[in-house]
Amino acid sequence: MDHRRYMKVLKLDEAEVASRRAFFELTDEDLSRLAALRPFAEKVTDAIVEDFYKLLLGHRETKKFFPDEATVRRVKKTQRDYFLGLFNGKCDLAYVEDRLRVGTAHQRIGLSTKWYLGAYRKYMQLICDHLFEELRDQDKVRDAFASIQKLVYFDVVLATDTYLAANIDAIERHQAAIRELSTPVIRVHDRILLLPLVGSIDSHRANQVMDNVLLKVSEAQAKCIIIDIAGVPVVDTKVADNLVKTTAAVRLLGAETILTGITAQVARTIIQLGVDISAMHTLSRLAEGIELALSLVGKSIQSSARRPTRRNKRKTVRT
């Protein structure tokens, strides 16, 4: 997933950036101060980057992310740019996009958060040491450090975001796959379909259910579809509304819907919608639904009871 999609998934827009800046108390004054510190930054960047990577390369678990000289050279250059980026005097969407690009690259190589975020501690230490050395004036050091810290924490949150967004993306892809597998419409009899709904239903899935139901009813020219919702843990007003709409749409096709697996709770939710349910078929048990469906298509289940003592009763479908 690239950094632009991250921004979309995380809803990182101008308003969000402004909100974060406000929370970090990151003002224009801070940014000006950082821009004024640019000469300082350029002077100390090489030393800071060297010491920073001494830690990463000296630690067994982090060393393995920098397997060769070429990689080390490359990341040192990136790190230098990253450090200097703190002193551009800007903190806008372009800045965010830039930081995310770097964060995305780290997340992609598999560097886990404990190392990535933990490394910021060293960063701050090195900056603090150099500030004291270069600036001398205690007040200046304190103000400079305060401003740098604000922007660095801002960056740390962005770094966390990249890992968060990657997880969200993975979850969404898995959910999409699960959805595909979990709206199977089954033909239980000549003109009767059955859809056992299992799992939680969000609005996206609810729309898919309606579309799928209509497609299958039309394809099969089914007179009746039973939708069993016993396997849906939460039926809120949105889901209930969608079920009611699905029933209406199926009727427009000229077929009937039977809702089964209705609990008392669900019944209450549907009533609260205030829609006209007089024409809806709702039942608590799937078995009842099947019997009703059969009667709607002019069939019924009948026991054959000719010789009850010698044979097990057999159930056959009689027209």
Binding site: D2, R4, M7, K8, D211
Partner: protein
């Protein structure tokens, strides 16, 4: 975050036949975006409703039909502009409880429910501008 316009078509609405042409263009763009039949029907019907509103209430107007992408999704954006009488009591019309002899109300509120983004700017004497966007799912 960054939308780009891949295709743009500007069409005049001056006769009833033009409603059909607008509908066809929207349907074509929807197909290019690989909208499924349900998304396609939604965007085409919304466009048909609003194009007809322009013709019935203003007599003539313009439809700007665009195909968009935003790095992740594809979408269709349609804007209708006319110098017609405008809509008084816009809020009530959008709520869908308003029915004139030509029931513009239901078409407007109905269209809004079919799309992802919807904006309308209209007042008596100021004409009407309606814009909507429909995207492929995330």
């Amino acid at each position: 975050m960054s939308e780009s316009v891949e295709e743009r078509h500007e069409m005049r609405i001056e006769s009833e036949d033009d409603i059909t042409l607008v509908r066809r263009k929207v349907r074509d763009l929807a197909a290019t975006c690989h909208f499924d039949i349900f998304l396609g029907a939604a965007v085409t019907t919304a466009a048909s409703e609003l194009a007809r509103n322009v013709w019935v209430h203003a007599g003539h107007g313009v439809a700007v039909i665009e195909r968009l992408t935003d790095d992740v999704r594809q979408g269709v954006r349609v804007e209708f502009r006319d110098e017609g009488p405008g809509i008084a009591d816009l809020d009530r019309v959008l709520a869908g409880g308003y029915s004139t002899a030509n029931s513009m109300g239901l078409g407007l509120s109905g269209s809004r429910r079919l799309v992802d983004e919807f904006s309308i700017d209209s007042a008596p004497g100021r004409g009407t501008r309606v814009t909507f966007v429909k995207w492929t799912p995330f």
